[in-house]
Chain length 346, copies 2
């Protein structure tokens, strides 16, 4: 019979996780103390700022139990955090994992979740150095604190966009939202797992390598990941930079898969693109003379990053405008993801 | 009508918290970016190791809603983490706060929880630099990551105890457990709030100042806080140091208040002392010739710390023994707190 957590206890589970991390994870020489004491400790690197972020996945809120494999759950939770470090131009170093678990949960599922964490951390040589296991009768949650670093003074903030800057975006937005809609419409259709949009929803990726390369080259004035939805996050950049934005609708990179799905849903694909979605792409602003360099950088990484110029930063603080193909102008709100607001029905 | 979170939304709540922190909190010059971007960032100090820990409070598990004020809830959550940093000999610097909230929660209660965090952080000049707010339909949780620092090479671990070392403990253990038992026995008796044991349960304190002073003076071979219960944590020291322990029962410092309460409960006060309890005291091991210096250090802080010598470290790995007043020896297990194990009834 598969072991449950209640069978091996908290300290038994900690030992199992420690063994798994020793076997399958990386261990940086800068970690002076890992899991197993009151705190972990590490030596910082002179000349580098430390970046630190935390993001949480709650059962029933950010994922549906049984609709995601434990491995993918771990990958997703870590990807959210890596994306935040990458959006500052940093690289992840160390993670602390806090998990609330039901006592009946299977030990092998928890181990798979940790494999998901390592899947995302190992390519960076980053490691899990601490954490906390808590019994939670009310459903599971995974809260990750991720520590990264960036060369001193090279971190890219939300607040640096200036009027006249070009706005660019990586990849294709709205695809994860469409994938989720497909899943919710046909919960029992297992063949959906192979649908490209569902795959993008189930296993999101981040642009942290590109973000770090941009920061190192000093090419961006502002950067943010799209975790609050495209307009929500462009809105954050506008607010923090005290600027506005004009977007060219025809330039927004809508993928063929999203266009087809939207047709089936009788929806406008741009609603998916602009609204709430679980894509972890980057919105980048830069001076116009840096666009060519940015594009060339996007093709020179291990795998090319789609990068599209979609608009300009303006001096009209807080004002976001979309210009349609016919030249008409339409004001838009940063109606991104706000966890606590009452939502209108679709 | 008092505002609920759902009335002001996630970003409204973040603004309110940011304002409160700017008004009532400290801001270190080493923080290069605080709350409001994808990540926070700070500059490490050369010659210091960074310490990092996380601990979580779950509603219904670690506290009962309505039985603790929001201010005390905040203080308690932060105290657990400060205690862990202090047990390594470090001082807290920066906190990240992840909270799962119900949408109906009152904004003023959340602000009070943050005041509780600051109550504990401000004396250290430590600050809240990041976090995450999540809607949780399943009850609240507070997960804190606390970053501290200790001079390089001066951190005190669990693994340094050596045979012949003296074992000391700060304060009086078991009091919080007795306070909780009082509360659970008479849930409606409001006068209990003034009972000294209930006060100790409701507003635990830490020994981080003493821990840091011990580390700076290089006096301890091992140190741990008693968050897993006295025997549980002494057991961790024995396991990680590969040693055993002999305790003199008559030397264990049982407070008068605990002795009286135990009499009323028809229980042995040592059961409270040795078992699971929410006291955040320190277990310290040191070489015999360091005891006098340690005791003198304990009286020289702003407020004197009760410090009691209770036993010796032995070479018998994993073997913990209590010597009773009549000279008889009794083997004990590290039956400390294990969140997931099935518990025997009292």
């Amino acid at each position: 019979m598969p072991e449950r957590i209640i069978d091996i206890g908290e300290f038994g589970l900690i030992r199992r996780i420690r063994d798994l991390l020793n076997r399958e994870g990386r261990r940086s020489e800068r970690v002076t103390l890992g899991i197993g004491d009151d705190t972990a400790s590490f030596l910082p690197r002179p000349g580098y700022e430390l970046l630190v972020t935390c993001d949480c996945l709650v059962e029933g809120r950010h994922y549906l139990p049984g609709r995601i494999t434990p491995l993918h759950l771990g990958r997703r939770a870590m990807t959210l955090n890596i994306s935040d470090i990458g959006a500052m131009g940093g690289k992840p170093l160390f993670a602390l994992i806090s998990i609330g678990l039901k006592a009946e949960a299977l030990v092998q599922d928890i181990e798979e979740i940790y494999r998901g964490f390592l899947w995302e951390l190992n390519p960076f040589g980053a490691s899990i150095i601490g954490g906390n296991l808590t019994q939670s009768g009310n459903g599971m949650f995974i809260d990750i604190t991720l520590i990264g670093e960036v060369e001193q003074g090279k971190g890219v903030r939300r607040s640096g966009a200036r009027p006249g800057d070009v706005i660019l975006v990586t990849g294709y937005l709205g695809q994860a939202a469409a994938g989720l809609k497909l899943l919710l419409q046909s919960p029992d259709d297992l063949s959906l797992r192979k649908h490209p949009l569902v795959k993008i929803y189930n296993a999101p990726s981040h642009r942290a390598y590109f973000g770090a390369a941009i920061a190192e080259a000093g090419l961006a004035t502002a950067m943010i990941d799209t975790s609050d939805g495209f307009l929500g996050d462009l809105g954050h950049v506008c607010t923090e930079s005290n600027v506005g934005a004009v977007l060219m609708k025809e330039k927004l990179p809508v993928s063929e898969a999203l266009r087809e799905a939207a047709l089936d849903f009788h929806k406008d694909p741009y609603d998916f693109f602009l609204g709430e979605s679980d894509d972890y792409e980057l919105i980048i602003t830069c001076q116009p003379d840096k666009v060519t360099l940015l594009c060339s950088l996007a093709t020179r990484l291990g795998f090319p990053v789609p990068l599209t110029e979609i608009g300009r930063i303006t001096a009209e603080a807080g004002n976001m405008i979309i210009i349609h193909t016919d030249g008409s102008r339409h004001s838009v709100n940063p109606s991104g993801w706000d966890h606590f607001r009452l939502k209108e029905e679709d």
